[in-house]
Symmetry: C2
Subunit: 343 residues, 2 copies
Amino acid sequence: MNKFSIGVDLGGTNLRIAAVDDKGALVEKVTLGTKVSLGRDHVIDEMCTAIQHLSDKYKRSASLLGIGIGVPGIIDMQTGLLRESPNLPGWAEYPVRAEIERRLNTIVILENDANVAALGEKWLGAAKDYSDVAMLTLGTGVGGGLVMNGVIWRGANGMAGEFGHTTVEPDGHPCGCGNIGCLEQYASATAVVRLAREAIEKNPASALASASSADPEFSAKTIYNLAIQGDEDARRIFNYVGRCLGIVLSNLVNSLNLPIYVIGGGVSSAWEAFSPAIFQELRRRALVYAATAPPDPNASKEGASAHVQSGPGHKTIITRALLGSDAGLYGAARLPMVTETQR
Amino acid sequence: MNKFSIGVDLGGTNLRIAAVDDKGALVEKVTLGTKVSLGRDHVIDEMCTAIQHLSDKYKRSASLLGIGIGVPGIIDMQTGLLRESPNLPGWAEYPVRAEIERRLNTIVILENDANVAALGEKWLGAAKDYSDVAMLTLGTGVGGGLVMNGVIWRGANGMAGEFGHTTVEPDGHPCGCGNIGCLEQYASATAVVRLAREAIEKNPASALASASSADPEFSAKTIYNLAIQGDEDARRIFNYVGRCLGIVLSNLVNSLNLPIYVIGGGVSSAWEAFSPAIFQELRRRALVYAATAPPDPNASKEGASAHVQSGPGHKTIITRALLGSDAGLYGAARLPMVTETQR
C-alpha cells in the first residue's frame, strides 16, 4: 500500500481501531472493550495508544492520510465538542477532538457514528456505486446518516440525518427526545421488545408470552425467531415495524429522490420479517418508487396502483447494509480521504 | 445592464415571461393568459413569440445568458419531456424542450415550477442569505422545492421536493397520487375547503355553514376571514393545517437540518392563523429546532421542553415567502445563471 488512514469506531460497548488503505483494504484491526465505567480519560488513553501503535507501525512504509473517529452523539463540528452522548456518560460538553489532537499531536476528524456508517456503506458496502445514499441503523435506537454528492450532509448544525426522530405516528408513543411517535419508537430493538410486551398484555396465553417468561433475555431476536416460525403475534409486530419504516422511507423518497436507501444495525437481521411491509408502503406512498418499481406480483388487476405509470428512469433501491458492524470503522477511516478540514 | 436572461412561468392560468438582469432587477415583464383550451401549440407559439421579442429587444445592448422555463409537472431532465402535468392537459409525454429549442434555435432549461419557485426565493426572496432552503408552496395542491449548495436538488429522477406527498396521517384522507394522508390533503386550499365541509356536516348550524351557503365561491379565503374573526370551527381548521405542516417541517428539520424553510403559495396568506401550530409542533418534534429556538413564552415552567437544552449554533428559520407569485418567474430567469447544462 502507498497510503492509509486510521479509523476509530468508538461505541458504548466496543472500541475498535483499524488501519485501512486508500483502496479500502483492511490492514490491521484492534478491538477493545470500551471501559466506559473506568472513565473518559481511560478510554481516550486506550484509544490514543492503539492509534499511535498503528501509526508508528505503518508510517514507515506508507503515508498516513489522517485519523477519523466515529462517535455516538452530537458533535459541534466547529469546536469539536461532544454536545450530547447518552451512551458515553460524562463525555458531554467535553472537548474530545482537542484532547485527542493534543495527545497525538496531529489533526483528527470527529464525526457522528451514524453518518460514518453511511459513509462506510457508500465507500465499500451496499451503496458503493452511488454518490447519494440515506442509511438507517436499527439498533438500540434508530440512527441515520445522509451522504449527498459523495460527502456527509451534516446540515446547518451537524444534526442532519436524524431519521429515527422523524414522526411516523403523530399521536404515538413518547420518545426520549421529547417528541411522540418517532420512528425510533417503532423500529429499534427496544421498540420491538416493547411492542411484544404490549401484545403479551393483550394476549397472555400467547407463544410470545411463554417465550418472554422462559427467556430472561427476551429480545428482538427471540421475537424474530417466533416470527419466522409463523407466530401471528410476532409477525404482526415486524409487519408494523416494516410499515413504520416504509412510511419514513416513502417520505425520504418523496423529499430527496435518492437512488438508494440502506438499512443496517442489529434489527436489520430481521429483514425477511419486516421488509415486505416496507415495499408495500413504498408502492402506495412513494411517487417515484411506484413509478419505476417492477409490478407488484401480489396486486390484483383493479388494485391500488392504477394511477401509477411505469416509466423509464432510475429504480429506487431499498436494501440491507453489507458491512455489518464494520461500516462505522471503514467510514471513519474514509473520513480523512473525503473531508476538507475547515481549520 | 451587462447580462440578462429570460424567465418563463408557464402556469395553468397565467403565462408570464420576463427579462431579468444578472443582479435580479426586472427589465420587462409580459403577462398573458395561458389559453390552455386553444391547445398546446397555441400556448407554445405565444410563449416563443414573447421570448423572441424580449430577446431581440435587449440583445443589442446586453448579452443573453439563456432562457429558463418553469413548468407545472414532472420533467425528464435528460430528454426534456414533460412526463405528467395535470394542469396542462395534452402536454404529457410531449418533447416540450426540443420543440421550444427548435423554434427559438437556442438551448433552453426546463424545470419543475415548485423547484423554480424555491430557486427564486433563494436568489432574491426570503432565503436570499442562504445556500440551502426547502420551500413549500400551498396552492390548489402542495408543491415543494429543495435547493442545496445553491442549486436545485432534483434527485435521481428529477422528482425530489415532493413534500406535498409525504405522509402526515398514516391512515388519512385519500390523495390523487394514490397514497393516503399526504400533506396536500391537509395544507392545500382544496384541503382547507374540504376540512370546512367536514366541519359543516358535523355542525350544520355553524358560522361556517352560513358562510358556505351564502357564498357560491366558498373558499380558503372565506374560511380564513372567519378564523381571524375568532370563529372556533375555522380556527380549528387552520390549527390542524398548521399541525400537519409542523409535522412535515419537523421531519425535514430532523432529516436535513437546513438553515431555512420557506412557505409560499396562496394559502400562506393565512400565515397568522396556521403558523402558531407549526411552531408548537416544531418545538416538540424537531430536535435541532428545539435546541436552538428561543424559549416558548407560552410554556409553563414544568412544560414539555425540560429535555431541551438551549445551545449555540444556527437557529432554524421557518418563514413566509417574500416574492409571491413572482418567485417562479425570477427563479426561471435564474436557471441559466446557475445550471450547467449536461448536453
